[in-house]
Symmetry: C2
C-alpha cells in the first residue's frame, strides 16, 4: 500500500468553531490571527483548510444557516399542522436565546449580498442554501391557505422568518427578553391573517 498521511490535529469544524468564537467577540471585523488564537494554533493551519478569510467566514455562515434551518425542519416535521407556522416563528427567538453565537454568525451575510461577491468554491452552496427552506415554506403555505401563490408565500416568509428575526436582531449578543416572544407570536398571527378572506 501507499504511505498514509499525518492525521489532522484540527477538524474543519474546530476551525469554524474558533471562527464562531471570534465572530461572537468581534463581528465581521474578526481577523484570521484572532481566529488562530481561539483555535490555539497558527494561522497557517487555518489557511491549510480554508483558502482565504472570505471562504472561512462564508463557510461559517453556511454552517450556521444550516444548523438554524435543521431545527426548523425538525419542528415542522413533528408539530401539529394547525400551529406549525406560529411555532416556526417562535423558533427564531428560542434559537437565538439557546445559541447566541450561532445567531450572531447568521448576521455575517445575507444570501443575496453574498452571492454578488462569493468565493467561487462556495457559489453552489450559497446559491442553494435556501432551497429546502423555500420548499418547506411553500408546503406550509399550501396547508394554511390551500394555495401557494406569490403573495401568500411571501406573507408566510414575513410572518415566520423576517418579522421574528427583525424582532430579535437588536438583542443579538445579549439576552433576548421574554416580551419578544410575545411580540413574535402576535406579529406572526396577524401577518398570516392578512392572507385570509
Amino acid at each position: 500500500m501507499t504511505p498514509v498521511a499525518r492525521p489532522a490535529k484540527f477538524t474543519d469544524d474546530q476551525v469554524l468553531d474558533a471562527a464562531l468564537a471570534g465572530v461572537a467577540r468581534s463581528g465581521h471585523a474578526v481577523t484570521v490571527t484572532e481566529v488562530a488564537g481561539e483555535l490555539g494554533g497558527p494561522v497557517g493551519s487555518i489557511y491549510h483548510r480554508f483558502s482565504s478569510r472570505d471562504v472561512l467566514l462564508a463557510s461559517l455562515w453556511l454552517r450556521s444557516v444550516q444548523r438554524f434551518q435543521a431545527g426548523l425542519f425538525e419542528l415542522a416535521a413533528s408539530g401539529p399542522a394547525g400551529t406549525a407556522l406560529v411555532e416556526c416563528a417562535l423558533h427564531v427567538p428560542r434559537y437565538c436565546r439557546a445559541h447566541p453565537d450561532e445567531a450572531r454568525a447568521l448576521t455575517l451575510f445575507r444570501q443575496t449580498r453574498l452571492l454578488d461577491d462569493c468565493p467561487a468554491e462556495l457559489e453552489d452552496q450559497v446559491a442553494h442554501v435556501n432551497d429546502d427552506l423555500l420548499a418547506l415554506t411553500r408546503r406550509l403555505t399550501r396547508e394554511r391557505y390551500g394555495r401557494a401563490d406569490r403573495r401568500h408565500t411571501e406573507l408566510v416568509g414575513l410572518a415566520t422568518r423576517v418579522a421574528p428575526y427583525g424582532l430579535v436582531r437588536p438583542h443579538l449578543g445579549r439576552a433576548v427578553p421574554k416580551v419578544v416572544d410575545e411580540a413574535v407570536e402576535a406579529s406572526a398571527t396577524a401577518i398570516l391573517a392578512c392572507g385570509d378572506g
Copy 2:
C-alpha cells in the same frame, strides 16, 4: 481687520453626501478613497473636515438617524392621536422607499454598539441621539395605555420601530414591496394589542 480665509469648496454635508453614496454602493466596507471619488476631490479634503474614517461614518449615521427621526416627529405632531402609533410604524417602510440610501446608512451602526467604541468628539451626540425619540415613545405610550411602564413602552418600541424595521431590512438597497406595508400594519396593531387588558 485681519485677513479672511479662503471660502470652503466643500461643505460638511457635501462630504457626507459623498459618503452616503459610497455606503449605498459598498456598505460599511466603503473606503475613504471611494468617498473622495464620489466627492470629486482628493482624500485630503475629507480629512480636512473629518478627523478619521470612523468619525466620517459615525457622523453620516448620526445625520441619517436625525433625518429619519425628523419625519417621525412631524408625523406624530400632526396625525390624529388614535392612529398615531400605526402611522409611526408605517413611516418606516415609507421612509425606506423614499430614501433608500439614507435607510442603508442607518444600518451602519447601532447606538449601543457604537457607544462602545466611539470617537470622543461624537460621544455626546451618539449618547443622546435617541433621547427625543424615547420621550416621544413614552408620550405616545401614555396616550395609548394610560401609563408608560417598562413593559408598555417596550411594546410600543417593538411595534413602531423594531418590527417595521425588521420587515423592511431584507429589502434595503432594493425596492420595498407593498406587501411589507400590509405586514407592518398588521404586526404593529397586533403587538400593541399585547398590552391591552
